[in-house]
């Protein structure tokens, strides 16, 4: 069972702002979804290996060979706020 506190914690982890009423609603919805997902507990998977990659591919590398970087002007074109060819953000406080 997911609680309101869990939802607030997860919202913080996910960096999403929510209003009070949204938190309420998400708690309800996520509870229903998780209850349905609880169906997975019917299965005994103690002896089953997990599948994180569906195809049995291994060892995909690239050689240490230089490729052309993007021109700085192309990079800066995507920037919301920029200064001196860098992305500008509100001050990071350490």
């Amino acid at each position: 069972m997911i609680t309101r506190k869990d939802v607030e914690y997860v919202a913080k982890l996910a960096r999403i702002g929510f209003s009070e009423s949204e938190i309420e609603q998400f708690t309800k919805e996520l509870s229903a979804i998780l209850e349905y997902i609880g169906k997975l507990n019917e299965l005994d998977v103690s002896k089953v290996e997990p599948t994180s990659h569906v195809l049995p591919i291994k060892n995909v590398y690239r050689e240490d060979v230089l490729k052309k970087s993007l021109p700085v002007s192309d990079v800066m074109k995507i920037a919301v706020v920029k200064d001196k060819n860098q992305f500008k953000v509100p001050k990071v406080i350490e």
């Binding site: 994180s52 240490d64 509100p90 350490e94």
Partner: protein
């Protein structure tokens, strides 16, 4: 109350690859901001990582040099956290299946510091803080970073310092990184806690960051021991937090982070497939590992009869030690070479602030000079002057000696004349010598040397004087 200090170190080192860990952008330092970026290292939507094989090879090489077990199966995981220098807001790292584990470094005292794991991950970009804003440069983003985590086996700031020095030396010997802390290619964080002497359980630890040299690590740890000891003695509790070392004020301060406890939500990186590392591949890399500093030290002491002190000085820099070895191939008296290298040559290096590779004095030049002293062409004193001139001009010892007329005078006729002058001018010394004070002759030798401008062969002068004063 007596406390025991428990320290664990986490070292991050940039691998010397041409390109980044997961894309083909250059790893060169000091380039224009964001000029070495592409969709992958900018973390743009839709981009995908592909592992640089060299980064994997260098990691395995390091792991082997640090006595780690290289694991035959490895995978990458995502470590999720938000920070503006981390463009995807997750870092590709390794969680439960690192490339290697269970290594160690042995300190001079014989104490073993265990290495828990060494794994490969990607670096973040760089933040530049301005008055009201921060600027992000992603040139560093995606650089291959090796994380080396020690077990909490270190019990003093000095041990920490020695561990780091030994670690750095190994990394330099195998040539996987330039280990330049100023450039950020080597960084070190420390975990430190105190516990009552004899206690089994670990105390509450603090994490120290922002140390820009090994010296700073030692000082920060020293400060932290003092701070925690005082707190404990005052009955206070240590708060688990991250503290920044302030090099100017020489104190650590809490980051007072308002962030929730770390919940990195690691999970297997779906964009990279797993890797199985065959033993054959590991063996091939093993063959590329050169002799490591500890082995070299032992060989120098045992086979070349160097003193432990000299051997230790020589191995501290791989280039210096290679230079030494090159000299021993040209001249058999290793001890004499070591005297020259650790004495006159090292002081030249220090005063000129250069590396041995940059010197115009090549091994054959040094050996040439040593041979001139051996032959008696120049005295040791003059030889040092010749050394300086070789370094300045790049000419051979022989050329300098003959051009500048620095050859030692052993011609008895010329020296007898000077000896007679000295005897005449210093009757008192003559008197003492004759009355049995044998040391008095040294003064007379000195006088002759002076008259010859340092070029007289002191051995010959001594013999002449003795003959004259019988």
């Amino acid at each position: 109350m007596q406390y025991e200090t428990v320290i664990g170190l986490e070292v991050h080192v940039h691998l010397k690859t041409k390109t980044k860990a997961f894309c083909g952008c250059s790893t060169e330092y000091g380039k224009e901001p964001n000029s070495q970026t592409c969709p992958v290292c900018l973390g743009l939507p839709g981009s995908l990582p592909v592992l640089n094989k060299m980064a994997l090879e260098l990691t395995i090489k390091t792991a082997l040099a640090l006595n780690c077990t290289v694991n035959n199966y490895l995978k990458f995981d995502r470590k999720n956290y938000y920070y503006p220098d981390l463009p995807k807001n997750y870092q590709i790292s390794q969680y439960d299946m690192p490339i290697s584990s269970n290594g160690f470094i042995i300190l001079t005292s014989g104490k073993k510091i265990r290495i828990k794991r060494a794994h490969l991950e990607e670096d973040a970009g760089k933040l530049i803080h301005e008055k009201d804003s921060s600027l992000v440069d992603y040139n560093r983003s995606g650089m291959p970073l090796l994380e080396i985590v020690s077990e909490p086996d270190i019990n003093s700031p000095d041990e920490a310092y020695e561990y780091l020095s030994k670690l750095k030396l190994v990394l330099q010997y195998i040539g996987i990184s330039d280990c330049d802390m100023e450039k950020g290619s080597l960084r070190c964080d420390a975990n430190i806690s105190l516990r009552k002497m004899g206690a089994k359980e670990l105390g509450v630890k603090t994490e120290l960051k922002n140390m820009n040299s090994f010296k700073a690590v030692r000082e920060a740890l020293g400060f932290e021991i003092k701070r925690q000891t005082e707190a404990l003695n005052n009955g206070e509790r240590i708060i688990q937090d991250t503290r920044l070392w302030d090099d100017q004020k020489e104190i650590t301060t809490s980051m007072r982070s308002k962030e929730e406890a770390h919940d990195y939500r690691y999970f297997p990186e779906p964009d990279l497939v797993p890797f199985s590392i065959e033993n054959k591949f590991i063996e091939e890399i093993k063959k590329e590992i050169p002799e490591l500093p500890q082995m070299r030290f032992e060989r120098f002491v045992k086979d070349l009869q160097l003193s432990e002190y000299d051997a230790n000085v020589i191995i501290q820099d791989k280039n210096f030690a290679d230079y030494f070895e090159e000299c021993t191939r040209l001249y058999k008296n290793a001890k004499k070479i070591s005297n020259w290298l650790c004495g006159a040559v090292l002081s030249e290096l220090n005063s000129r602030k250069v590396d041995i590779q940059e010197l115009k004095l090549k091994p054959k030049d040094l050996i040439g000079l040593i041979e001139e002293t051996e032959k008696g062409t120049v005295s040791n004193l003059v030889a040092k002057e010749v050394l300086t001139q070789i370094i300045d001009t790049g000419k051979s010892a022989h050329a300098i000696i003959s051009e500048k007329g620095m050859a030692q005078v052993s011609d008895e006729g010329a020296l007898e004349k000077l000896a007679d002058e000295a005897i005449k001018e210093n009757p008192k010394s003559v008197e003492s010598y004759k009355s049995g004070k044998e040391n008095a002759i040294m003064f007379l030798v000195g006088q002759v040397m002076k008259k010859s401008g340092g070029k007289a062969n002191p051995k010959v002068v001594g013999e002449i004087l003795k003959r004259r004063l019988i």
